[in-house]
């Protein structure tokens, strides 16, 4: 049974940007890459980044923000009434 989690999440579009990374503060520890269940954090040779279309894949769990010890990840919830909707939460 291979389940694609993104098929199992509903969203209201229009969130705007709500996650950002400050490359200066990032130590490349890769904790965000390990923790994000939507697999939205990636690493290039010299830096870590979040994928461009994260707004349509993010689960708003804030795990990346919480796990980032140096405080390189900024997270605010998306605009009220937009984003993830859990009907069976």
């Amino acid at each position: 049974m291979d389940i694609r989690i993104n098929d199992l999440v509903k969203r209201i579009p229009g969130t705007g940007d709500f996650i950002s990374i400050d490359k200066e503060k990032c130590t490349m520890c890769e904790r965000c890459l390990i923790i994000c269940v939507a697999n939205l954090w990636k690493k290039k040779k010299d830096h870590v980044y979040i994928v461009d279309d994260y707004q349509s894949k993010c689960l708003e769990c804030a795990a990346c923000y919480q796990v980032c010890e140096p405080g390189a990840i900024d997270f605010q919830y998306p605009a009220g009434g937009t984003g993830v909707v859990f009907e069976k939460g």
Partner: protein
Amino acid sequence: MSIHNYDVVIVGAGPGGSTAAKEAAESGLKTIFFERGRKPGEKNSSGSGLGPRMWLDFDIMKELSPDVCPSMRAGTAARHYFVDSNDEVASYIMTRPTSSVNYEPAKSFITMNIYRSEFDPWLAKFATDAGAELKTSTLIVGLLKEDGKVVGVIDEKGEKYRGIVIGADGVISTVARESGLRSKWAQKQVTITIQYDFEVSPKKIDDIMGDETLAVWWSAVFPAAYQVFFNDGFHIGFGNWMSWWDKNPLHYLNRCIKLKYFQRLVRILDAKPREFQSHLLPWQGEPYDTHTDNVMLIGDAGGFPCPLEAEGMYPAMITGRAAAEVAAEAISEGDTSIEFLSRYDTAWKKTSVGEDFEAGSELYSIWKALPFSPRENMSWIVPLVSEVLGGIIDWSEPHPKRIRQVARTIKGYLPKIIPMLMKEILPLLTASLGEEKMDLVTNPEKLLAAMPEVELALAQAFMSADDEEE
């Protein structure tokens, strides 16, 4: 922008926020509460079992029925599966509320299982019926401050609301962050908890599970997973502290889903994956920094889930009630200072939630050592439990020999069992029984003076087991 004046402004319409709003409005306070979702519950993810203590403390719970909450299913009995290091279900047992449980509805169910998308709006309606104002689709982004002190909240459109602030905004709390109470959790104070929802026909659940509508998958290869059955589906999920993960949490949850045994259940239930959720959940030994000038934190925002199993909805409601009471006192006495609001700590500590935290760090430590340490500890506890359960019915040898084999195997685990008892169980017993009673129970001389035959019997069992070779 104008400033809207209230007595109490509450951020969040989860179980904590709605309870606080209801009780504040009922005591005559002008109350508003805010929710970032289009309706309460649609941003939230829980197991979701409601504990029976809710029915003791909140009369409204008696009105919860399938009319308003169609997903309801009582978690009457629980299965405990034990998964070994080879991804095999090595044994399982079933339990019900035991004979020492002494009140209803706790005798009838362990949890009442509900979806948050139904429960949260139902609860919020009691608050609006009591006169509290609910603003949905509204994100609170900051706190209104005067002379460095918090006097209210600010929403994403810049609207300002003045009043005593109750932070009911869950694990990533803007109120905690902006009031300076907590910038972020320590990694060991918060878990990531993820779950799948599967759709199943109610009839299949009735026929196949009967009233066994909770399950824990205790495991040596992933953190213990819970399975919670609703009217027409189930959740399978788990969590662990942020510091634990060496691989993606989904890798471990999928390992549970892929167990042969689990897949067989999915087939016979004809279960279809329907939703996936990821959420953080605070899990710590002792709430602290719960209030400051004009601010109180309740529920997840204050770190109140139970230190053993992180039941969090009941604590959110209890602390919501305590905060509403203290808010009413503070307003009538015209003092919302941090000193005055320390009454909030006094109030929640007197409740059943406060009692859980009396042994908070011990309970936390046990959970950490057992279900949250699959490789270190469950890897021997699972075979140990299975040896005991499986050793009972076994026709491979003459029974006396089997008993000795089982006893010898158990003895082999003593070097693991004894440190575990000393490190985890004794501190908990001491915290609950007190030093004096503990001395009686744990002093081997006093104990054996009372029962010398115990020592003899134990010695004999293990000596004869030692003599016997394979």
